[in-house]
């Protein structure tokens, strides 16, 4: 009955809390509850996501309170929740990809005794990281509720496939340009550092090329 029924009527406060609890156990899903009175307190507290339509008693039990006294707040709640989830996952993918890409660039440059210079790291921080971090956090939720639901698990196979596919594509293009620049008539190999352990790296064609490619 729990799986099929859509309307329940004449329920006491205990019945409401019991229904939410049963739905959680039976369907094994995250259950939301939206209510406007003191008789909803138990159910609001039991639910995974509780939205109170009242600023009085029920708002104490519910983590969310809506100023609008109708259930349109549920749609807003879902939109914002999905946006927050998607943004956090995108941030994870972005940081993971950024690390992988920089790792492969630096390893390639180390092989020829070169590295990205301080000014190149500065460029990456100022032009790529700063605007993306600001504007990604600033972006709001999508205007309407769609059928597609974002994944709820970070270590989900498609998320990892996405990260590793992009990494391998990047690696392929980095290798392509890394070797292509060395075939050019204007190419000069990087100046080798001294015997000091803390070598000061100078500009090289490879580092400039990888900066241009990986930032895009």
């Amino acid at each position: 009955m729990l799986a099929k029924a859509q309307v329940y009527a004449r329920m006491s406060p205990d019945d409401k809390a019991s229904l939410v609890s049963s739905l959680q156990e039976t369907l094994n899903e995250q259950i939301g509850m939206c209510g406007d009175g003191a008789n909803d307190c138990g159910a609001l507290k039991t639910a995974d996501v509780g939205i109170s339509l009242s600023e009085a008693e029920a708002s104490i039990a519910a983590p969310f309170t809506s100023q609008v006294q109708d259930i349109s707040c549920c749609v807003t709640m879902l939109r914002e929740g999905r946006a927050a989830l998607t943004t956090s996952f995108q941030a994870f993918k972005f940081i993971e990809l950024y690390s992988f890409i920089q790792f492969t660039s630096v390893i390639m440059l180390y092989c020829i005794n070169a590295n990205l210079t301080d000014s190149q790291f500065l460029y990456i921080d100022l032009v790529a990281l700063l605007p993306l971090a600001i504007f990604q956090a600033w972006t709001g939720s999508y205007g309407k509720l769609t059928k597609e639901v974002p994944t709820a698990t970070l270590f989900y196979f498609p998320v990892l496939v996405s990260v590793f596919t992009s990494t391998f594509i990047q690696l392929g293009f980095q290798l392509w340009l890394f070797y292509d620049i060395r075939q050019q008539p204007f190419y000069k190999p990087p100046v080798q550092g001294g015997d000091s352990i803390e070598t000061e790296y100078t500009d090289s064609y490879e580092s400039g090329m990888l900066l241009q490619l990986t930032n895009f």
Partner: protein, 95 residues
């Protein structure tokens, strides 16, 4: 929309970094060496090749995300849903 602004900023700056003239101080500051040999011959056309490779890289990443990852996601989601449905059917049969 704000996210698009960051992409536009990236696009403008990164395109400028490829196509700015050799003697531009910004290029020198960011360590992008001039594409001219010791005899003074400039190979500016090489930048078009570099830019084409960069755009190809962007396109390949975008296509992979849209095709491969979307396909893998749909298959994985269907498998998870099937597992959930199976568990639910078993529970209903038990009741």
């Amino acid at each position: 929309m704000p996210y698009l602004i960051s992409l536009i900023i990236l696009f403008i700056f990164d395109t400028a970094l490829v196509f700015l003239p050799d003697d531009n101080p910004v290029l020198n500051f960011f360590g992008v060496l001039p594409d001219a040999d010791d005899d003074g011959n400039a190979y500016y056309s090489y930048r078009y090749k570099v830019y084409a490779i960069i755009l190809l890289n962007c396109t390949a990443t975008w296509v992979a995300e849209k095709l491969i990852v979307r396909y893998v996601t749909s298959v994985a989601d269907a498998a998870v849903q099937k597992k959930k449905d199976g568990e639910f059917d078993r529970m209903m049969a038990r009741f």
